[in-house]
């Protein structure tokens, strides 16, 4: 009897929880569209496998908009952020886009470049612009897609370019031995491979190339790859997730004393995992290339982000955000979008700002952001803001990343 009552009670509670949202289906929830209210639709994985990195980006963007509201950056308009969790599930991607549209989104902020590739035709049909963090070579030339960073292929190129510039050919009297360790079937590794091969096509004589060694995603050991790359002066790392920590731990345990270089996807995204798995003294010779400044840089971009993260986040959360790059990417999105929205308002008036006006403003982006390597300039042939990258080295004593190169412009990022 008691069991029956309990089951009925649970059923009623669960049904109630499911029935409440039906108001949305009936149209009772309304949408957030009004002439002077601009909704940014954020679509990304907030609870799935990529959530760890995506939430930081969301936090950065959301804090920027809070700061913009507090400091009245937007005149005559209100800007709000609505998010949709894709859980890295492709069945949810187009539905999420349509849902954000019904919430009145006039510009989409979509983290995964693959999601934007799936939705590219819809953006064009609906004339809604989309911005992303990582670019995609597939989306180059698409009038409704804009990216903060170049495609990952350019990271592979930038890393080799940095090694080439950094290597003292005269003193060493030989070429640097370089290899690539990554994972099969993940876009990052395949894109790095493509970028590296492209760079080697024109600069192959500058390297003693040891090959691409890709392990399965589920691989628990890297012994084969490490043995193949043991002689390298530099190993380019493109693995993601816990694989990054596993590889770094194993490569040092197997007494590899050379350098490990990654792009923005590997070390910065999973450095806490790496630090948890590898003794601090073994973290020497770790580098990563990235498009944006780091938290210890002295410039207004970082100063503003630092102020916001301490103002809007708890101390513990702020410290966590300042250990990664995601928050800064979200903050950079905020800078870019607010600039575009402000110009759109100036161009057509607060009550006339629609998706097309925002798209036009994004397409004419021309901003100098302090601390970044190049002017963010969108043109007819370029839909990417940050094209230059800089290499950072992990300082074992200070336990912090330190910039160790000038800004690098890889060949594929050169705008003709």
């Amino acid at each position: 009897m008691a069991k029956g009552v309990l089951l009925r009670a649970i059923s009623v509670i669960l049904l109630a929880l499911l029935v409440i949202p039906i108001t949305g289906l009936m149209g009772c929830s309304g949408d957030d569209t009004s002439a002077d209210r601009i909704v940014i639709g954020f679509e990304g994985d907030l609870t799935g496998p990529a959530a760890r990195a995506v939430i930081d980006v969301y936090n950065g963007l959301s804090d920027y908009l809070k700061m913009a509201e507090d400091e009245a950056i937007f005149q005559d308009i209100e800007v709000s952020l609505v998010h949709y969790d894709t859980k890295t599930e492709y069945g949810r991607v187009p539905a999420g886009y349509e849902w954000l549209k019904t919430r009145g989104a006039r510009v989409m902020a979509v983290v995964a470049s693959m999601d934007r590739e799936v939705l590219a035709g819809r953006y064009e049909d609906d004339q809604i612009p989309a911005v992303g963090t990582q670019g995609s070579e597939v989306l180059q030339g698409n009038d409704w897609n804009f990216s903060l960073f170049t495609a990952p292929e350019a990271q592979g190129e930038a890393i080799l370019q940095w090694i080439m510039t950094n290597w003292d050919y005269e003193q060493e009297a030989r070429k640097p031995r370089v290899g690539h360790a990554g994972m099969t079937g993940i876009l990052t590794s395949v894109a790095y491979q493509r970028g590296i091969d492209r760079f080697l096509d024109t600069n192959g004589d500058k390297f003693e190339w040891k090959g691409h060694k890709l392990a399965p995603v589920s691989s628990a050991t890297w012994v084969t790859e490490i043995n193949s790359l043991r002689d390298c002066d530099y190993i380019v790392c493109s693995m993601v997730g816990p694989g990054t920590a596993l590889f770094t731990k194993e490569v040092r345990e197997r007494e590899y004393a050379g350098n490990l270089v990654s792009g923005m996807e590997a070390f910065p995204g999973y450095w806490e995992l790496v630090k948890g798995a590898v003794p601090p003294s073994s973290l020497y010779g770790c580098f990563y290339a990235h498009y944006q400044p780091w938290w210890n840089d002295d410039n207004s971009f970082i100063a503003d982000a630092r102020e916001a993260v301490t103002r809007y986040r708890s101390q513990e959360d702020a410290e966590a955000q300042m250990r990664g790059t995601g928050y800064l990417a979200g903050w950079a999105w905020g800078v870019w979008l607010s600039n575009a929205i402000t110009r759109a308002v100036e161009n057509v008036g607060a009550d006339q700002v629609d998706a097309i006006a925002i798209r036009d403003a994004l397409a004419s982006t021309d901003i100098d952001v302090e601390g970044w390597g190049n002017t963010w300039k969108i043109t007819e042939t370029n839909s990417i803001c940050a094209r230059t990258q800089r290499v950072y080295e992990w300082n074992v004593d200070d336990e912090d990343w330190v910039a160790c190169s000038d800004w690098i412009l890889p060949p594929s990022a050169v705008v003709v």
């Binding site: 669960l14 499911l18 609870t47 939430i55 069945g91 019904t102 693959m114 099969t184 079937g185 993940i186």
Partner: protein
């Protein structure tokens, strides 16, 4: 059990799927309802409905393979990928019309299913599950690495798929929904009907006891392979719809999680029933959809907690509902529905 006052007087009546005038009326009203649904549904719900339709087709295939014939498969998403990539490659690289690739996608997925279904003659149960999991990974790996062997599938980057056109015009969401609805109706009719044929009965005989079925004269090899072919044919058709709706497909879209969801759908709906398979697909997708506005409402109420709490809560609600169904109605929703119907027809008597 038939409704009170309904008697079958001829064999055709006994065989009919739709038996009474009321059932015909309800069927026609239902079809009219679903047909017009696309006209007034909000965009996100329409997209949800289209994707649900694709899932229903794939799950119906799994229902024939697993629910009817007892051949557990955890590679349905991979066979869907075969259908999707068949149409993508043929349309994009060879310029074939999407309409022409519809049957080709289904047949090719069915043939690939035959390859992975062959071990079913020797192995069953857990071992067959492992074999179909292998199919999932092998197929996706082959698609990913195929540029290396000269087949342009775009590898991990993916490949674009042209829109389906009618009289030179690409289908919009409403028209695509009508196409999906038509495919769902045809496939459901086929799935429902096959249960009543000698083939369907051999499937059930093999599922219940393959040794006894063989003693009775059922050709096990043929029957199991046919189940795999039909199940994978359905997946291929679902893949065709998926590819042309998305317009850009990558191997990551057909991951192992999707195969797990398909299996979960027939378990929740009730194994061995066409209606149950549809019920399972609708229930899981509906729950997935329903938690979004709930998460949104919580985000609006608690903006500072929105990202951390709301999506987590949505997952908790979703998981609770799934666990609830599994604990309380392990035979699936269809079984519960049958009991409700029986209760209604017998009321006020208990039996």
């Amino acid at each position: 059990m038939l409704p009170s006052g309904t008697f079958n007087t001829r064999p055709e009546q006994d065989m009919a799927i739709v038996r009474t005038k009321t059932q015909w009326l309800l069927l026609l009203l239902g079809l009219a309802f679903f047909f017009t649904l696309g006209l007034y549904m909000p965009g996100d719900w329409l997209v949800w409905l289209i994707i649900l339709g694709m899932y229903v087709v794939a799950v119906l295939g799994l229902h024939i393979m697993t629910g009817l014939c007892g051949q557990f498969s955890m590679g349905q998403a991979a066979f869907m990928a075969v259908g999707a990539y068949t149409t993508a490659v043929l349309c994009t690289n060879y310029g074939l019309s999407p309409w022409l690739t519809l049957p080709i996608s289904g047949i090719f997925a069915g043939l690939v299913g035959l390859v992975f279904g062959t071990p079913a003659l020797r192995i069953k149960g857990f071992y067959l599950v492992m074999s179909t999991i292998a199919a999932q990974f092998i197929v996706v790996w082959l698609i990913r690495e195929s540029p290396g062997i000269g087949l342009d599938t775009g590898g991990v980057y993916g490949i674009s798929v042209p829109k389906i056109t009618v009289a030179g015009e690409g289908l919009d969401y409403v028209q695509f929904w009508w196409l999906v609805l038509a495919v769902v109706v045809v496939m459901t009719y086929f799935a429902k009907n096959i249960q009543r044929t000698s083939t369907g009965r051999s499937f059930v005989a093999v599922r219940d006891n393959d040794l006894a079925a063989e003693v009775m004269g059922v050709n096990l090899f043929r029957t199991k392979l046919l189940a795999f072919f039909i199940g994978c044919f359905f997946a291929g058709i679902a893949g065709w719809l998926w590819a042309h709706f998305y317009g850009w497909i990558t191997p990551a879209q057909f991951d192992f999680r999707l195969s797990l969801w398909f299996l979960g759908m027939i378990i929740i709906g009730g194994m061995g029933s066409t209606t149950g398979a549809i019920m399972g697909a609708v229930t899981i997708r509906l729950m997935d959809k329903m938690v979004d506005p709930l998460a949104d409402a919580i985000s609006s109420a608690f903006p500072n907690l929105s990202v951390q709490v709301a999506p987590a809560l949505s997952l908790i609600v979703f998981a609770l509902v799934v666990i609830f169904f599994i604990l309380v109605e392990p035979k699936g929703l269809y079984h519960r529905w049958e009991r409700i119907k029986l209760y209604y027809r017998l009321h006020p008597f208990a039996y």
